[in-house]
Structure formats: C-alpha cells, structure tokens
C-alpha cells in the first residue's frame, strides 16, 4: 500500500483513534444518540483535525519547542470556534443538541495527539491526509454507534421510522438503555472486542 493511501486507510481500521488508540472516547459516549448527531460531530472533528494538522505542519519549523502546546491549542481553539459559530448559524437545532461537546473538541485527545505525533514532524500534505484519516476513523465509529443506538433506542435511522408499527403492536419496545450514554460504552467495548478477536496483532499483552 502506498504511503498516502496508508495515511488515509490505517486510521479507519488497524490504527483507529477510538478503538485502538482509545482517544476521544468521552465525546463518543456523549453525542452518539442519533446518526445525525454523530455525523455532524464527525464532520466537525474531520475539519478540525485536518486543518489543524495542516496549519501546524506548515508552522512546525517556526514553533519554539517549549511553547508548542500553547501554539497548537490556539490553532485548535480558533478552528473549533469557527465550527461552533458555523453550526449555530446554519444548524441551530443540532448545535443545541450537541451543546458543549462541539466546544470540547478543543480537549479531544485525537486532535492534540495527531498534532504532537504526526504534524510536528511531517510535511503539510501527509499531515493533512493524516488529519482527514484520523477524523474519519473517529467519525466512522461514531456513526456505527449512533446507528445502533438510534435503531434500537428509537426505532429510527436518520429520523425515519425503520421498525414498522406492526412490530410494536406485537409487543416490541424500544430499548431505553440505548438512549442513555452508558450504552455507547458497551457498544464501543463490543466493537473493540470484535476487532481484536479478528485481528490478533492488536492484542497487546502487558
């Protein structure tokens, strides 16, 4: 696999930020109640990681080593503020539902982790691709969890009723646990379980 393709594809599976690096779990638990929420959150994180990686990679030779964290944070905070204002202007309902978690992308370990681990030592184009890849790796897990939670918690997908009325008349009930954020920790745990039982290289025995 070529290096550029690897940068994009690896974070989706074998180096996934949530299931393998176990970063950014906090927001993944909180905002995944529906697919729409997961999608918006995922896109926001892709935007932030990509552009933050690009910016820091461009500045990497100018940033003094001692204050690099502060500089990185300023860049991230600027991008997150942009996203937050954009959401408030164009997707007000969703931004109210995501509430504080858009702002908390600043503290999302994935963004900071990629800046420190990758952008500080690589050229702008690979850094951009790495940011997009990791953002997508985050988004894909969010969407999987969001889809399961929305399907079993509300019987819907993207707001459309998927489970027919007849099933409800038969005695089926929506699963109230899926509405609670606690269900995502079980779901992410099960995803990690499945992934590691299929790919033995990911199992670290310590």
């Amino acid at each position: 696999m070529s290096d550029t393709k690897k940068l994009l594809v690896d974070p989706l599976s074998t180096n996934n930020p949530i299931t393998v690096q176990v970063l950014g779990v906090c927001s993944a638990l909180a905002v995944t109640s529906t697919i729409a929420n997961s999608l918006v959150m995922g896109v926001a994180v892709i935007f932030v990681t990509a552009l933050a990686n690009l910016t820091i990679s461009l500045l990497r030779n100018l940033i003094p080593g001692r204050i690099r964290m502060i500089v990185q944070l300023v860049v991230i905070a600027f991008l997150v503020t942009l996203v937050s204002i954009f959401l408030k202007a164009f997707l007000y309902d969703l931004s109210k539902e995501l509430s504080v978690f858009v702002g908390l992308i600043i503290t999302n370990c994935i963004v900071m982790g990629r800046l420190e681990a990758f952008a500080m030592g690589n050229k702008p184009i690979p850094a951009l691709l790495d940011g997009v890849g990791n953002g997508m790796g985050y988004a894909i897990i969010l969407i999987i969890v969001g889809a399961i939670r929305e399907l079993f918690g509300a019987g819907q997908l993207m707001g459309f009723q998927v489970i027919p009325e007849a099933v409800y008349n038969f005695g089926y009930e929506n699963n109230g646990l899926m509405v609670l954020p606690i269900s995502s920790i079980f779901l992410i745990g099960i995803i990690i379980w499945i992934q590691r039982s299929r790919d033995k290289e990911l199992v670290d025995i310590s």
Binding site: G171, Y172, E173, N175, L177
Partner: protein, 410 residues
C-alpha cells in the same frame, strides 16, 4: 443404567474435529455421571463439595421460594380477574407461566456458555445453572420473554464472559440481567401494573381441559383490585396506606401473614418470606452462603432504619421514612437479596471481617435508596451491584491491615 453409559460412550464426538459438539457432549456427560478427571499436579485437596454440588445445593435451597412463588402467581392472577379458582388451578397457572421463562433463560444463557466453552477449549462450567435459576425468580411474572432473552444474553456476555467466565465476574450475573431490564425496559419492571400476570400463554391454552384454568374469564383486571405493591403504596401513603389496602373481597391485602407467605404482587421468587428463610437456613447449615453477610445486612437495615425513624418528623412528605424499621424486612425483596444475591461467593467480599463490612454497607445503602429516592422504591439490586465494585477493595484493606498488625511481631 449400563445402557446409558454405553450410549454416551458411543456418541462421544471427536474433540479435535468438532469442538462444539464435544463440549456439548462433555457437558451432558458430566451432568449425568461424576467426571473422571483427576488432578495431575500441584496440591491435592480432597473434598466431596465440588462446584457442581455447591451449585445444585443453592438451586435446591431456592425451591421453597420457587414453589410458593409459582402458587402466588396463580393466586394473584385469579384475584386480579375476580375468578374463584381452586388451589390446583392457581398452582398450575403459576407453574405454566414460569416454565417458558425458565426455558428461555436456560437456552439463551447455556447456549452462549457452550459457544464460549467450545471456543476457549475448556469444559462447560456449572456456574450458570444458579444464575439461570435466579434470573426467573427476580423477574415480574408477566415480563415479555424476548426481554428476558436479551437481558440474559447481555449479562452472560458482558458481565461474565468478557471478564473471563465462571468465577471471574465482578458483578452478580443474575442481577446484571435485572439491571439491564430495569434500565432498558423500565415500564416492564416498575410501576403498579407489571407485578401480576394477566395473560395466558400457549401452555395454558393447551392444558385448559374443560376450562379448568378459567381462560374464558379473559385478561381484564376487575374493579377494586390494585396491583400496587407495598413499596408502591408506601411512597405516597406510608405504612398506613399499606395497611389500608384491601382486596375486592374486602380482606386486608397486606396483612402480616400475607406478607410473610408472600401472597401479594411482586417478583416471582422474592415474595414468600417463609420459603426464603427456609432456603437461607439451609444455605447457612450447608456452609455455602456465609451467615456473616446475612447477619450484617440485617444489622445494616436496622441501623439505617432507626436513623430514618428518628429523623421522620422532619420529613413529613416522605411516606417511607416513618415505616417502622422492622417492617422493612418483610416488604419487597430484602430477604431474597440477602439470602441468594448478596451471598454469591464470587462477587462478595471473601475475608471474614470484610464480609461484615460488605453486608452492613449493602443494608445501609439499599435502605437509603428505598427510602430516600422515590424513583427507585427498591434498592437492593442497585446496592448489591454497587457494593460488588467495592468487595475487592474491602478485602485488600482487610488483608493489608492484618499484615500491618502482625508485622510488629516479626
């Protein structure tokens, strides 16, 4: 019985070729016969009390609560419908209502156990037999079967197999199944209407010869019958409301004798206090369950109950707080939680002093949840799960303090 042995030997599958059917065969074989395995290395301890015998004794101890519970399901059912049924019909109704529940739990739970045993390549462990019997006993009698199936699968997968199987679980497997239903389908396991079985299943219809099970009476509750449990009544009206509750016949619904025998709406196994006490004594006599946990739970409830009773005049809005503390023992599921849930040897604290602390804290926390939180009128399930987390911490501190105390003698 020679032919059974011969038959089992004949159908024995090859372990390498088909691990799943071998595990299945091995499970049935060790169920029928004493296993032929012996220890090959390490310490040799001889004790006739192996895991299988321990487990089956617990199941036997539950039978009193189970039989009285089965009768009670039928009794409540016919009282709710206003039908004058005889004792046999009531008992058979309850048994047939319970049977599908027990089958579903065993099929789902043992199915997952078998799969994991085959995958991991070890023999089937007996631990689930107790859980599979406990899960039906802590469910409301009318709970939909698919919910029980999902809850059982969840608890076996997440609470047990993810932690490494029998003996490795941190949380009580049966309670996790109930917690799952409690949070996933709250309307099926809390409130005033779920504690009585109203419907008839296929078994009832098949065995209803000459309408002796009174299926023609329908499934509608008659006026004047309230499915509210003592705990549900106590939230609003306190002890007076419990005593004032009457059946349509004018009888007192929650007299002390009814509460002791368990002739009232509630979860299947937790109602008959007499059956549970017999089971508890049996477990203590056989030294399977520890009296320390049971005793300290009783003390914990008394301690917290007296505090609440003293503080009662300051909180006139809370109906629960003024209930005499000794009445808390016969309301709800305290005794069942004490005898069968808290004493689970895997999840409880295992040092002797630790057991006193563990039981005492369950008693205190459970009563606080019951009295102080009107949203959860029953607290033992959550209190035991909560103290399960602390069991190993308690043990660690007890052992460390023992070491510290004796270190000065070295």
């Amino acid at each position: 019985m020679k032919f059974l042995r011969n038959f089992m030997d004949k159908i024995q599958p090859d372990k390498a070729k088909s691990p799943f059917s071998y595990t299945l065969w091995d499970g049935i074989d060790t169920f029928l016969y004493a296993p032929g395995h012996v220890t090959h290395q390490g310490t040799h301890l001889k004790d006739s009390m192996d895991l299988k015998r321990t487990m089956i004794h617990v199941v036997l101890a539950m039978q009193f609560a189970f039989l009285l519970g089965a009768y009670n399901i039928g009794l409540q059912h016919y009282q709710a419908l206003g039908v004058d049924a005889n004792i046999a019909a009531e008992f058979v109704y309850g048994l047939l209502q319970l049977l599908p529940l027990i089958i579903v739990v065993h099929v789902v739970g043992l199915g997952i156990e078998f799969l994991f045993a085959a995958k991991k390549g070890h023999a089937i462990e007996e631990g689930f037999l107790v859980s599979a019997f406990l899960i039906p006993l802590i469910m409301p009698p009318g709970v939909p079967l698919y919910m029980v199936a999902i809850a059982t699968a969840f608890s076996v997968l997440i609470a047990k197999e993810a932690f490494g199987g029998t003996g490795m679980n941190i949380f009580n497997v049966a309670l996790v199944a109930r917690v799952f239903i409690f949070f996933a389908y709250p309307s099926s396991i809390s409130g005033d209407t779920c504690w009585v079985a109203y419907d008839y299943n296929i078994l009832h219809q098949a065995l209803n010869f000459g309408d002796w099970l009174h299926i023609s009476a329908g499934t509608a509750m008659i006026d004047g019958f309230s499915g509210a449990t003592p705990l549900g009544l106590a939230v609003s009206g306190g002890w007076e409301a419990i005593q004032a509750a009457t059946l349509p016949s004018g009888e007192q619904q929650y007299s002390i004798s009814n509460m002791m025998w368990g002739f009232m709406p509630g979860s299947i196994g937790e109602m008959s206090k007499i059956g549970i006490i017999i089971g508890a004594i049996m477990l203590i006599k056989l030294k399977i369950a520890d009296w320390r946990i049971m005793f300290s739970m009783v003390i914990g409830v008394a301690f917290m109950g007296v505090i609440f009773n003293i503080a009662a005049p300051a909180f006139p809005d809370n109906g629960f707080i003024a209930i005499p503390f000794y009445m808390h023992y016969i309301m709800g599921s305290f005794l069942f939680a004490m005898a069968f849930m808290a004493t689970d040897p895997v999840t409880a604290a295992s040092t002797n002093r630790g057991k006193f602390i563990y039981g005492f804290m369950i008693g205190v926390i459970g009563l606080i949840i019951r009295v102080a939180n009107p949203a959860y009128p029953e607290g033992w399930m959550l209190a035991i799960i909560f103290m399960n987390i602390f069991a190993s911490l308690i043990d660690y501190n007890i052992i460390q303090s023992n070491i510290k105390r004796r270190l000065s003698n070295v």
